[in-house]
Amino acid sequence: MVAAFALTVEDMREASAAAPGGRFFALFDANALIAAVARSGDRAAFAELFDHFAPRVKGLLMRGGTSAELAEEIAQETLLTVWRKAALFDPAKANASTWIATIARNRRIDIARRETRSRLSQVYEILDEDGPEQPDETISGAERDARIRAAMTGLSADQYRVVELAFLEEFSHQDVAQRLAIPLGTVKSRLRLALSHLRGKLEDLR
């Protein structure tokens, strides 16, 4: 009886692992995977990180107006940077998604502005190293993430779209105004409104 039961559970595990995405959602732990890459250059762990994050980085860039080809290249470079810099990841400072979004931002600048020899990504890196936590900043990265998640969940679909716009758009506000056929002033005021709404939620949650 016992053996039969154990077998059944094992079968269920296998079935769950084989189901599309089943194992993925149950066991994906980005922090552990990054730690494995940092510790021993674990290629299997890296492959999992790549499969999870590269399509998301690509999706995020394309949402912001980057071409598929360029988004693919930046996503590749972002994940290669994750491989190289895994040891610098500090989960106490920011979660894995935030860290990878930061790397993606920096790689996008390097790649999209390579003709002008932009050094801006180095500036962001210096700020990351040199910004010591102030006494009023003692909130942990995890606490901050929880507050952000709560604030973002409370946004309407429209507000969410405008927040996306504020962070992702490659287009100028002028382009956005033309695309949406609304006046430039309206784009700016919507942006201001969505950010202040988000700001209000964040302050409430402090």
């Binding site: 999706g59 190289r84 910004g131 962070f167």
Partner: protein, 208 residues
């Protein structure tokens, strides 16, 4: 004690997203280096981008990861200390070449910051105590972070770490602190329309 002057949410979001002109971004970065509260806001904005990444619809990659491009594990980065830089220059200027200080008038000097990727002109400006900078208007932006000392104009008093975001709507006449003088980092886009005789002395700022 005056109110601290900080970038707007829109400006900080554009900075966090990496969408600002490099020169304007550099002035925001110099402010962030000096201001813990703005750094806290920026970290929130970075966390928002992490959240956007979590929620975005993935788009399949055309290719897998290039296994041959993964360096051996021994080459993986470990934390290193940054090289030191002169105490009177913001750390965020480290990647850039700085010109020499050169006088552009009585007790006013400037030093150019070479930012090849920028549409704006970037420079440090140092003015002696009590100097009145010439009245001027802008056709573009003039963003400033105060690095030392203070100045004052009709929108308030700006002290070390403060960020001054002026655009075409502004028409200002900064007066430098009578005791401390003022050193600041400035990025300008468009044209500056100088008024008065001192304007001629400041032409190098506008033209270079």
């Amino acid at each position: 004690m005056s109110m601290a002057h900080r970038p707007s949410d829109e400006t900080l979001a554009a900075f966090a997203g990496g969408h600002l002109d490099e020169g304007l971004a550099l002035v925001v970065a110099a402010h962030l280096e000096l201001d813990g509260e703005s750094r806290r806001r920026m970290r929130e904005f970075m966390a928002i981008q992490g959240e956007l990444l979590d929620r975005i619809e993935p788009i399949p990659m055309a290719a897998g990861y290039p296994a041959e491009e993964l360096e051996p594990h021994s080459a993986i980065a470990t934390p290193t200390a940054s090289p030191a830089i002169a105490a009177d220059v913001p750390a965020v200027l480290r990647p850039y070449a700085l010109g020499p200080w050169r006088p552009i008038g009585l007790r006013i000097a400037m030093r150019r910051v070479e930012v090849p990727g920028a549409d704006s002109r970037v420079f440090m400006l140092r003015a002696g105590p009590g100097i009145a900078l010439p009245p001027h208007k802008h056709t573009g932006f003039e963003w400033t972070t105060i690095l030392a000392g203070a100045y004052e104009h009709q929108y308030g008093r700006y002290v070390v770490g403060d960020f001054d975001e002026a655009d075409t709507e502004h028409d200002h006449t900064p007066a430098v602190d009578p005791v401390e003088g003022c050193t600041c980092l400035v990025a300008m886009t468009g044209k500056v329309l100088l008024q008065g005789w001192l304007g001629r002395l400041l032409q190098p700022l506008v033209r270079f």
